[in-house]
Amino acid sequence: MTDATHQTDTTAEEARLKYYSASQWTLIWWRFRRHRAAMMAASVLGLMFLAGIFAEFVAPYGPVTRDTNYIEGAPQVPRFCDAGGCSVFPFVNGTKTERDPVTLRAISVPDPEVRHYLHVFVKGEPVKLLGLIPTDRHLVGLNPDVDQKIHFWGTDDLGRDVFSRTIYATRTSLSIGVIGVMISFVLALIIGGIAGYFAGVIDNIIQRVTEVIRVVPIIPLYMGLAAAMPKEWSTTQVYFAMTLILGLFGWPTLARRIRSQLLSIRNEDYVIAARLAGARPGRIIAQHMLPSFTSFIIVDLVISFPYMILSETALSFVGLGLRPPSVSWGVLLQQAQSVRAIEQTPWLFIPAIFVVVAVLAFTVIGDGLRDAADPYSEAH
């Protein structure tokens, strides 16, 4: 054996030592990090969450701020060049109002004579960051002295900025997903835990009830619950009711997983030992049993996000979920229900891209985590 191969052998040996002494979570992280698609999905999702959290700062305008000079206006894409030459900094052309020669309606057309440059950290509407910190700075925008607004993704029929609304909607939709998943997680833990730990008759009854909830088609069920929300409820009340509804019926799949895992390990020696030592059921479940399959629970949590998001979007889309003036992806898409919308104001579909990307990202991350959490996914 030559020296060179010997050298690589010792480094390989070190790597192996590090590998064998790493904790379960470190190992999962190492494997996950190698999953390129999942890492990409995680970054995209991270950006979405950031944008949602700091919506007041990222969005140039408020979700209901109207720009009556630019109704159903097309997206304004920042550019570096126009008929008058090029510039180092991005700008948009100004707009002017003209009469449509055919319909005689007032329409906005770009005015190549005027350039408005983009600025960062511009002064704008005063907002409260995270609902707490007052500020009037926004990430990007036009100079506040200009009496024109910038609409990256156009405006809707009331002249509201689609970009800003989508950012605010991202916050609503993602937060409903998070809270909904949390609620169903807690319920699944309790229900699945009881069924799996006590087994027998209790388990049988719980299984029956779970079965009933699983067979009712979920969106019609959600609809029934959402329809019962009093019409006079405030947007905040509706928001919390929605998260509750989504959470209350999202638990069966996860509860079944927890139950079957618990059933399979409830007669393991270490569990019996804990029982003999006089530990209470709650403690045995939490301290001794759950840790052995935490990684699977996390995977299940991640892949249940898409269902929450899609359900919220679907319910709001048909008018049974969140209601204007709330903004969520589903509420925004309500304005894009017809083929006419696709033809005339396709930019109203931009929120749909967010839905697709978010759902895809959660699914890909879930797959990546599942592979990473599976100790047999690779031979090292």
Binding site: V215, I219, P220, M223, G224, I342, L360
Partner: protein
Amino acid sequence: MLRFTLERLVGMVITMLLVSVMVFLIMELPPGDYADRYAFRKYSGTGVNVTEADIEAIRRDLGLDKPMLLRYFDWIGGIVLRGDFGQAFAFETSVAKVIGDKVWLTAGILFSTLLLTYIVSIPIGIFAAVRRGSAVDYGLTVFSYLGLALPNFLLALVMLYFANRWFGADIGGLFSDQYRDASWSVGKVWDLIKHLWLPAVVLAWSAVAIQIQTVRATMSDELNKLSVTAARARGVPELRLLIKYPTRLAINPVVSTIGFDVNRIFSELPIVAVVLGLTELGELLLRAYLDLDMNVAGAILLMLTFTIVFMNFVSDLLLAWLDPRIKLGA
């Protein structure tokens, strides 16, 4: 087999009973009761002054003053014994009348969607498993992700848009204008079939994506089984071998999830119906919810769920028939 069937039958009835309780609770959920809403609907804007006593009278007439448990038995008893789902107030007629032949339209949509799902997903899933790691296999994985991520109403809109561009304007809905209110005829049925493919494609989309992955996974497992190698070593021709041995077993998980597929289709139905302008139970259910016409909503929800429970039962029986090992265990 008889014992197995009976056991499953009893299980099905119990589940249906529990489902009916749940549906009834949902019907009772909205604030106020049927009498309030009935009075409000009937007299709002007419200038008639409705007093609490009037509402009380309506309540008594309809038996709504009885305790909840009794009302439940009235309701379910009416359905089981007389096929009577109660009154629909939207049209001041019986629920049965409102629903009418929409049941058959819904069944048509359901079965064409199921048919499409299996015709497409089973062969493609098998192909992907046989050609594992190929470009086709990879493309299908991407498609499956999209099948999950694309909200069905969005897909419906996009399909509608392209259908309009390519096949003309009259593609949404279930009937052309000339047949919409006509009585049933051969022409009308043919017209229905011409319109059914669009909702079927939209509704089958995600089911196909999921089933392809299921078939591919089981098929990959089955292809590696010793029994397949053994049959090959006996000189069984490849295509026949593929169909007789691994495919036969790869179909089992598909059969066992028929109920889930029906569930998914019904779940998506109301929303797809809105976009595509379908006049069937899903759309009616949505309208009933929006109008708080809970008798209609409850009846439809019950029908949809019972169909799912029944299809679960059917899939259990089919599976027992397909897999001789199950009968032994039961």
